[in-house]
Symmetry: C2
Subunit: 162 residues, 2 copies
C-alpha cells in the first residue's frame, strides 16, 4: 500500500503558522492535551476558555468552548482524527465525537511538533479549509495574529508554569 | 483514559442494517476493500460503480462514484476514519482525502463484521447522520431496500465469484 502522506498542502485553501520556539516539544504536547493547561493559554486574552474536554483518541471529543470578554459563550466542539504522541495531532469540527457529521463545519486542523534540540521545537499549525472563501474568512477573523498570540501565550505558559 | 466506545447509537439520527449472512467474514472484508470486487456488487443493479479508489488507512480516499442506468455519474468521495482489518471500518463523506472538510457532507458510515462461525458472519452497517431531517431523507432515498439489495448482491458475489 502507498505510504505517501495523507495530507497534501494547498496554499489556496490552507493557512499555516510555523515557528521555532525555545521550549521542549514534550511540554508543548502536554500543554495542548491537558485541559488544566490548555484553558490557561488557548484563547487570545481577554478571551478565555469556558469549557474544555479532551478524549485523546480518534473519534474522541475535543471541546474548547470560548468565552468573550463580555461573557458570551461560543461553543467549539469536534473530534480527534489522528494522534501521534508528542509529534502530531489532527482534529476537525466537521465531525462531532463518534464521527457524527457536524452542523457547522469550518476546518480541520493539524499540529506538528519537531524536536530541534532538547529545548527547541519547530511548531507547525495548519488550518485546512474546504474552499478559498472559508480560508479568506479565517484570514479576516484574524488567523495570523490570533494563532500567533496564542503561541506566545503557550510559550509563556510553559516557561512560567510548567 | 476512558476506553468506552467512541460511537454512541442514536435511533433518531442513525439507520442500521443488521443481518446474519452465510459467508466467511474474511471474504466480506475482501469484497468491501478491493476495488475489483467492490465494483461488482456495491450499487443496486441496474446502477453501477463508475469509479472506485480505496486507500485503506485513516485519511485515505474512499471513492465509489455511481453510474445511473442512463449513464449519469454521481460522484461519491470521502475518506476512511478507522480501519480494523476484517472487523470494522468507518468512513465519511464529511471529509475528503487528507481530512479536508467536504462541500456536501451527508453521512458517516460504519461496517462491523462479527464471525459467528467459519462460514457465518453478523453483518452490521450503520449510517450516522447529523440531524433527523437527513436521516429521513436517507429513508426516502430507499436506505432499507437499497442497502439490503446491495447486501444480497454482496453475498451472491462472494458465493459465485470468490
Amino acid at each position: 500500500m502507498s505510504k505517501s502522506p495523507i495530507y497534501t498542502p494547498n496554499p489556496t485553501l490552507d493557512l499555516v503558522l510555523e515557528r521555532e520556539i525555545d521550549v521542549p516539544h514534550e511540554l508543548v504536547w502536554t500543554a495542548w492535551t491537558t485541559p488544566e493547561h490548555l484553558v490557561q493559554w488557548f484563547c487570545p486574552r481577554p478571551w478565555g476558555v469556558a469549557e474544555c474536554e479532551i478524549d485523546l483518541r480518534p473519534g474522541g471529543v475535543f471541546r474548547t468552548d470560548m468565552r468573550s470578554p463580555e461573557g458570551q459563550i461560543f461553543p467549539n466542539i469536534g473530534c480527534f482524527l489522528e494522534v501521534v504522541p508528542q509529534r502530531k495531532m489532527v482534529w476537525t469540527d466537521a465531525l462531532l465525537p463518534g464521527y457524527r457529521p457536524a452542523p457547522n463545519p469550518f476546518m480541520t486542523a493539524m499540529l506538528l511538533l519537531e524536536p530541534l534540540s532538547p529545548e527547541r521545537t519547530r511548531y507547525t499549525a495548519i488550518a485546512i479549509h474546504k474552499d478559498p472563501e472559508t480560508r479568506q474568512k479565517h484570514i479576516e477573523m484574524g488567523f495570523e495574529h490570533g494563532w500567533g498570540t496564542v503561541l506566545d501565550q503557550l510559550v509563556e505558559h510553559i516557561k512560567t508554569k510548567m
